[in-house]
Symmetry: D2
Subunit: 331 residues, 4 copies
C-alpha cells in the first residue's frame, strides 16, 4: 500500500489498491476481498467491503471482517429528511451486524478527546444514547419491557488520563460483563470529499486515537473478550496525506506535458515514489505527522452526525424505540 | 446517631454525639475516638479525628481510620494568600497520610457529576492534576526524575453511565495496577457554615454519590485492593437536614418560654423526636430526600477549592514540584 | 406581602395575599387582579393572572400585565408524551401573547449563569433555538419563506462580565433593532412543589438574576424600547424562604395544641411575625440571603425543560415548523 | 500580493512582498513600512512592523499602524519558564501600546467560536481575565486601589447568534462606555511553523472570523468610537494556502532540474501563476475555501497560550498585579 497516505476507511484502502493496479475500481477484483454497492434514493450509497481471508487482509491492510460504509453528501448538511433516511438505513444495518438476543447487555463506548471538536464525536454520541442499565425494573416507564440494558462511557484519551484507553475499557468490561461493545470514534479519511459524509460500521474493532493520534492497543473481540462493533466517521484528513495527494495531483497534471522516457519524466516518476517524504516533512515542520485538516463548520456538523448515530443506536437496541421516535429519547 | 440528619464529616458526627450526650465538645471523651485540634495562623484550623476501634465506629458511625479536617472561612473567598497557606498545610498532611515510596504509581479519581456545579469538584480537580503516566521517560522535561507516575480519570456517575462507579474504578485499577488511589468527591455537611470551608482527608475511602445521591459500593482498600485516600469538601447541605435543624432551633427557642413538665413541653419534646419526619417529608414534597442547599456563588467557589486541592496533590506527589510552583502546573 | 418570603411567580404571590386575607384561594377576589384556570387533560393546568391596575400591582407586587402559568408535575419527568402536549399548549399561548406580524424580527435572550446548573436554563434554551437572521435568503432551505428572522444570545451574568446584563441587551437591541425580545430566565418559587413543574410566560419583562441574585435593571419594554416576553421556570427555592415556611409549618402545627389567648399562643404569634428573621439569618450563617435549594437531578431536568421551551419558541415563531417537527430543529 | 495565500500576520505579509520582489527579507526595504527585530534570550524574538502610510498599506495589505509580533517555538510547549518570560515581555509591550491613564475603563472582548477548539482562544482568555467593573469599591480587597475597572465578554460568532459580532460589541460599547477595547482572536498564518508560536499585538483592530470565516465589519477605533488593541495568535493555516505552498515548493524543486526557457519551464512558470486555482479547488472539493489545518494537540496548546495572554493582560492593566503574581488571579 502507498506510503505517505493515511486512511481508516476500508473503501478507500480498496480504492488505493485498485489505483495501484492501474485499474478502475469497478472492473478490478482483489483476491480475498468482496465489494458490493447499493443505492438508497439518489443521495445515499451503501458499500459493503468483506475482507475474506489473510490474502485480502494483506492486500488492503484491514483485518478479516465486514465493513459497511454509508455515504451521503447530505449527512453534513442541515437536511433533516435525509438524516432520517440515513437513521433508518443505519439502524437496520446495525441490527443485521449485531449478533445478540433480547437479554444481551450492551456497553457503548465513546472514544476520542472531547476537547478537540472533530475528535469529540464519540463522547457526543454517548451523551445522547439512552442509558438504562441502572434503572430498577419497577422504575422503568411502561414500555420498560421493550428497553434493553444499556450502559455508556467516554473513557477519554491517553493525553488526558495517562492510561491506555483499551485497558480502561477492558477493565470496565471485565467488571460489568456486557455481551457486546459498540465503540464510536472519529476517523481520518484520505479524501476531503468523504469528511463528514461517511459512516463506517465494522465488526473488527477499532484502535483508539487513529483519527487523531498513534495506533494503540486495539479494542476488538480478541482483546476485550466480547464482540466489538465499531462505528466511525472521518472528520479529518491527515495533513501529510493531503500534501502527498496534492503532489500526485500536480505531477499527474505535468506528466501530460512531457513525453515518456524523457529525463524529466523519470524525475517526475521518482517524485512519485517515496523520496518525496522529506519534502512533506519540510512543509509541515515542526509538526510533521501531527496535523489534520478539517472544515470550518466542524462543530455543527459533528453535532448533526452524532445525532444520526445516537438515534440509530437507540433504535437498533430497543424494541420500544422506532424510527417514529427519532430525537424523542435524545435528552 | 440522630435521624433526619445527614453529614459526611467525621468532625460533625463527633459533635453530634457530644450534643446528644449533652456535653460540650471540648470536655467530652467518646470511647474509641481520639480528637486533636491545631491552629495555623488565626484563620486555619486542622482537626484530626481518629476512630480507634469498633466502639468508636459504632459511636460516631464512621469506619476505623484517620480523618484530617482542614477548616478556613477564607477557603471560599478570593483570598489567594490564605489559599497558599492551605495548600502548603494540605500537601504536608497528604504526604504524612500516604504510605508510598518514590516508585509508587498513583491513580487520581474525580468522583461526582460534572453537570451539577456543586458535584463537579472531583472532575475539576482531575482536570488540573499533572498526569505523567503516559509520557515516555525520554520526552519528560529535565526534572522528569522528580516526577512520579500519575494517571487520572473522572468515571462519571451512575445516572450518566448506568454503571456502578466503584466497579468502573475497580476495573481500571485491576488493569493498570496503581499502588494508591486518591479519590476526590463533593460531600454534604450538616451545618451551612462548613460548606466550602472544610476539606476532609481520610484513609477510609469514600462512597460515590454520598454528597448528591444514595450510598453505593464503597471505594476503599477492601474493595479496590489498594489503599485509598479520600479527599472531600462539603459543597451542599441536605435540605431535609436543614429543615430538621431549623425545627430543633425553633423548638429550643420555644422551650425557654415554657416551664418543664407542662403538657406543652412534652409536646415540644415529642417534636424533638422522630415523629417530625412526616412534617419534613411534607415540606419537601415531592422531592423528599432528594434536594440540596448550596450557595449562589458555588461556581467560582468550586473553581477555587479545586485549585487548592489539585495544587496540594501535585506538590505532595512530585518531588519536582514545591509550594513555589503553585499554579505553575495547572494548565 | 409577607417578608422573609421570595417568589418570582405571580400565582404564588396571589396565593400569598389570599392566605394573608385568611381566605381560601378559590373564593377570594383581590381588587385589580383577575385569575382564571383551565385544565388540559388530567396532568396540565394553565392559570392566567391578569394584573389590571395600580391597585392589583400594589396588592400582589407584580407589574400590570399578563402572567400565564403552565403547570404539570410531569414536566420534570422523562415523560415525552406529556412534554409534547405541553409544547403544543405553550406554543399556542406564545402566539397569543406575541403581537407581531410575519416580517417582525425576534431576539431571543438566554439570561442566567451557564456555570450554575439550575441557572443555566436560559443559555440552554438559546443553544436550541433555530437562529436564521444571518442566513442569506438564497441559502435558506426551500421552506425559507416559512422561516422568520431570529437571532439569539446569552449575555452572561454580571459576576462573569462585570456588566449590567440589561445594558448589554439594550446595546444589542439598539444596534440590531429587533421588533420583539423573548427573554428566558431561571426563577425562584416559594414552594418546593412548583420547582421544575411550572413555566411562567409574561409580557412585563424580567429582572436578570432574580432567581439567583439581586434584582437589577429590568429587561422590559420601558427600558428596552421594544416589547419583551419573559419565559421563566422556577428551578430553585430561596433557602431563607424554605426555612421561613418550615417555621410557619411547625408553628401552625403547634398552635393546634394551645388554647387561644394563652401567653404561649401570643409567643407563637410573635414568632409568626418579623422578629423571626434573626433566627433565619443565624441558621444560614455565613450565607444569609445567598443560598438556594434545588433537586439532585437538576441537570437532566433543566435539559428536558429547556427542550420544551426551545421547541415551543421555534414552533411559535416559524410558520414552517409545526408540532410534527418537535425536536427536528434542535441540533 | 499573491493570490491563493491567506495570512493575518503582518510579518508574513511583509515576507511575501519581499519574496515577490525576489529579495531576501533582511536587505529589502518596502516603501512606507518599517521593520525592526529584537531578541530576548535565545528563544524569544520580537518583530515590530510599522505601516507608515497609504504606500505601505497598499504594499503589504494591512492598515496603517503598529504590529508587534512575539515569536517563540516554546510558546506551544509545556515550558513554564519561557512562558513566564513571554508574559513579562508581552505585558510590557501592552503597556507601551495602550494609551490610557489610571482611571480608564477597559472592555476585553474574546472573539471566536468556543465550540471549535482552535477558534476558542478569545473566549478562553476572557474566562481568565480578572473582571472588576461590577465590584463595589468597599467590597474590593485591600489592594483594590491598585485594581482598574475591567469588564469582559465573549460575544460568540454570527453562526451561533445570527448577529454581526462587531454590532454586538459596538452596542455594548455604546451602553457601557469603556475607554479602550482589547480584542483577542484566533488567526490564520501562512506557514505551519508559526502556528501557536506567534502572538501579534496591533493597534489597528481586528475583523471577527478572519481566522475561521469571512471578513466582517471590522472592530477598530473608527467603527467602535474608542481605541482597539487587537491580540491575535495563529492557531490554523488555511488549507488552500497549504496546498498552494506545497505546489510552489514542488515546482521550485523541479525548476532546478530544467533549463530556463525550455517549454517545460514555461509550463512550470504558468503553474506558478494563478491558473492553479482550479486544481486547489478540485483537491478541496466540496469544501474549497472552508478548511483549515491545525495540530493534534491544539486543545492543550490553546489552554497554554490563553494563559500567557490572560496573565499578560492582567499584569498590564492592574498596578496591583505583577509578574510575581503569574497565575495567581486566574481562577
Amino acid at each position: 500500500m502507498k506510503k505517505n497516505i493515511y486512511t481508516d476507511l476500508a473503501v478507500e484502502l480498496h480504492e488505493l489498491v485498485c489505483e495501484e493496479k492501474k485499474q478502475v475500481k469497478e472492473e478490478y477484483e482483489i483476491d480475498g476481498v468482496k465489494v458490493s454497492v447499493s443505492k438508497h434514493g439518489d443521495s445515499i450509497e451503501v458499500t459493503t467491503v468483506e475482507v475474506l481471508d489473510e490474502m485480502g487482509e494483506r492486500e488492503i491492510g484491514k483485518p478479516i471482517g465486514n465493513y459497511v460504509t454509508i455515504e451521503s453528501k447530505s449527512m453534513k448538511e442541515n437536511d433533516i429528511d435525509i438524516h432520517e433516511s440515513i437513521i433508518s438505513i443505519m439502524s437496520k444495518k446495525l441490527k443485521e451486524i449485531y449478533n445478540i438476543d433480547t437479554d444481551s447487555q450492551i456497553l457503548v463506548v465513546g472514544l476520542g478527546n472531547w476537547n478537540i471538536t472533530p475528535d469529540a464525536l464519540g463522547p457526543k454520541v454517548v451523551s445522547k444514547v439512552l442509558v438504562t442499565r441502572h434503572i430498577p425494573e419497577d422504575l422503568l416507564p411502561q414500555e420498560s419491557h421493550k428497553l434493553r440494558s444499556v450502559s455508556a462511557i467516554s473513557p477519554g484519551v491517553m493525553g488526558i488520563t495517562g492510561l491506555e484507553t483499551a485497558e480502561v475499557v477492558k477493565g470496565i468490561v471485565q467488571r460489568t460483563n456486557p455481551d457486546l461493545i459498540i465503540a464510536i470514534d472519529a476517523l481520518a479519511s484520505r479524501s476531503v470529499s468523504r469528511i463528514n459524509s461517511t459512516i463506517q460500521i465494522s465488526d473488527t474493532g477499532v484502535s483508539p486515537g487513529t483519527g487523531m493520534g498513534n495506533r494503540r492497543m486495539r479494542i476488538n473481540e480478541e482483546n476485550m473478550g466480547v464482540p466489538v462493533i465499531a462505528i466511525g466517521v472521518p472528520t479529518v484528513v491527515d495533513a501529510a496525506t493531503l500534501i502527498n495527494d496534492t503532489m500526485d495531483y500536480i505531477i499527474k497534471d505535468m506528466a501530460t506535458y512531457v513525453e515518456k522516457n524523457s529525463d524529466f519524466y523519470k524525475m517526475l516518476d521518482e517524485l512519485g515514489l517515496e523520496n518525496r517524504y522529506p519534502l512533506i516533512k519540510d512543509i509541515l515542520e515542526p509538526y510533521e505527522g501531527n496535523m489534520f485538516v478539517t472544515p470550518k463548520e466542524v462543530d455543527s456538523v459533528v453535532d448533526r452526525i452524532s445525532n444520526i448515530i445516537a438515534n440509530s443506536i437507540n433504535i437498533s437496541l430497543h424494541k420500544g424505540i422506532t424510527t417514529d421516535d427519532i430525537n424523542r429519547y435524545m435528552y
